[in-house]
């Protein structure tokens, strides 16, 4: 048996190998290469921010529209992209499992790290650019914003593990995921503030875990300008449950994985 610390060393090595492989496979060595990982979500977010600004969207909030759009759309990418990438992960990477040290968990971890890393870098870069140029004010409570972001990232990773592992049991999961993620977008808190709604609606919205994350990030940005509603413990608790369910499903998925026809 391999000891826990030895396993950890192997896993780190394998995930590193997979990261390098995935980056070169996906982005190649042409033009800006791996930078697309960051550039792609940036382009999306800038596009959405421009549209929302032009439409005067989010003016119900005291928050600058650009900041409202960046915090909102980036947080959607954070939980949506990792899931999409994990849904076909086992199928696409079966041949890697012939290498004894490569397990389905490594394949998932690689994709999650790439997606969350790329979106995070895009978010940080965009925010820094806009703050640096004076386009939006400096956030008032960076620590709360970072904490909210990390909770959302955890949510994305846990959801990706769960949905991705479930997708290997039935292709229905992937089919349903697309409409579900589409409908979740308007409900996710990206395009509204919880405070805009009356308490009964508010309570319903707060059943959605990602709403708490977005509210928290926005509280960290300009919490002094508006009222935010969130409970980090609720999001963390959901994340914990999702993570456990995800890991159990992933273990089961790994045991029944089979070669592509």
């Amino acid at each position: 048996m391999t000891s826990l610390s030895a396993s950890f060393v192997i896993q780190r090595r394998v995930i590193w190998a997979l990261l390098m492989r995935e980056i070169i496979t996906r982005y190649g060595r042409h033009n800006i290469g791996v930078l697309w990982l960051v550039a792609e979500p940036m382009v999306f977010t800038v596009g959405v921010a421009t549209l929302w600004t032009a439409a005067g969207f989010g003016h119900g909030s005291a928050m600058p529209v650009a900041a409202f759009a960046i915090t909102g759309y980036s947080s959607v990418l954070l939980w949506r992209n990792a899931v999409s990438k994990c849904n076909a992960a086992i199928q696409h990477n079966f041949n890697l499992l012939y290498h004894r040290n490569v397990r389905v968990m490594d394949v998932f971890a690689t994709r999650i790290i790439l997606e969350i890393g790329g979106t995070t870098a895009s978010f940080v870069l965009l925010s820094a650019l806009m703050i640096g140029t004076g386009f939006i004010p400096v956030p008032v409570d960076l620590l709360t914003a970072i904490f909210g972001w990390l909770l959302l990232a955890w949510f994305g990773a846990a959801l990706a593990t769960m949905v991705g592992a479930a997708a290997s049991f039935s292709e229905i999961v992937d089919r349903i995921w697309h409409p579900v993620s589409y409908f979740m977008f308007p409900l996710s808190g990206a395009a509204f503030m919880v405070d805009w709604f009356a308490p009964p609606v508010r309570d319903v919205l707060l059943w959605l875990p990602m709403v708490h994350g977005v509210e928290m990030v926005r509280d960290g940005f300009y919490g002094h300008l508006m009222r935010t509603h969130y409970d980090p413990a609720f999001l963390a608790g959901t994340n914990l449950l999702l993570s456990m369910a995800g890991l159990l499903l992933l273990r089961a998925a790994g045991r029944r994985v089979k070669a592509n026809p």
Partner: protein, 229 residues
Amino acid sequence: MGDRYIELYQVNKSYQTRHGARRVLENVSFRLERGAHLGILGRNGAGKSTLIRLLSGAEYPSSGRIDRHMSVSWPLAFAGAFQTHLTGLDNLKFVCRVYGVDWKPLLPFVEEFTELGIYLREPVVNYSVGMSMRLAFALSMAIEFDCFLIDEGMAVGDSRFGDRCHVELFQKRRERSFILVSHDPHIIRMYCDRVAVLHRGRLFEFETIDAAYDFYESQQVPPPAVVFD
């Protein structure tokens, strides 16, 4: 040395089909010490490739246990184990990273063996079949395993390539183990000191290669309808 082995206990493997579960391997058990060379004869659909997938760890048994107390390779020269959008060199680096080996000292061997020249730095999609095969084999030899898995197919390629594979594997690495599955008794007779026949998912081991060969030849049962190779 004596504690390096791979052992299978009562390994079963079933797959779901539209007509319910279909058992492809049935109570397969054997133990292989380091240095032993096992040949497994089997017709198409006998379960050879399934057994290789279980041995390499790509798939898990439905029941039973596989204990690995030595390092087991991926199926030798298996081209599927590399990524065709990467260059040959990227694939070498990937495999080395996975197994925790420094790739730089291995480069001369891979360059010499594959004879790829500048193509080593081109994507594998641009390779001919022969070139991919040479690369796949060289990568398998680059990592040192206790036990190599060989899924027939090795006989393809020109004779010069065949000879060089022979030297690398069966002469230079003679002290390692290998498990060779094939439907060709001659290959097994040439390289193996133990022989078994996989017939309809069950493994029969024989004292002598001749006995195994006789049994194999006498089984005129047509392959099952569903083939998982």
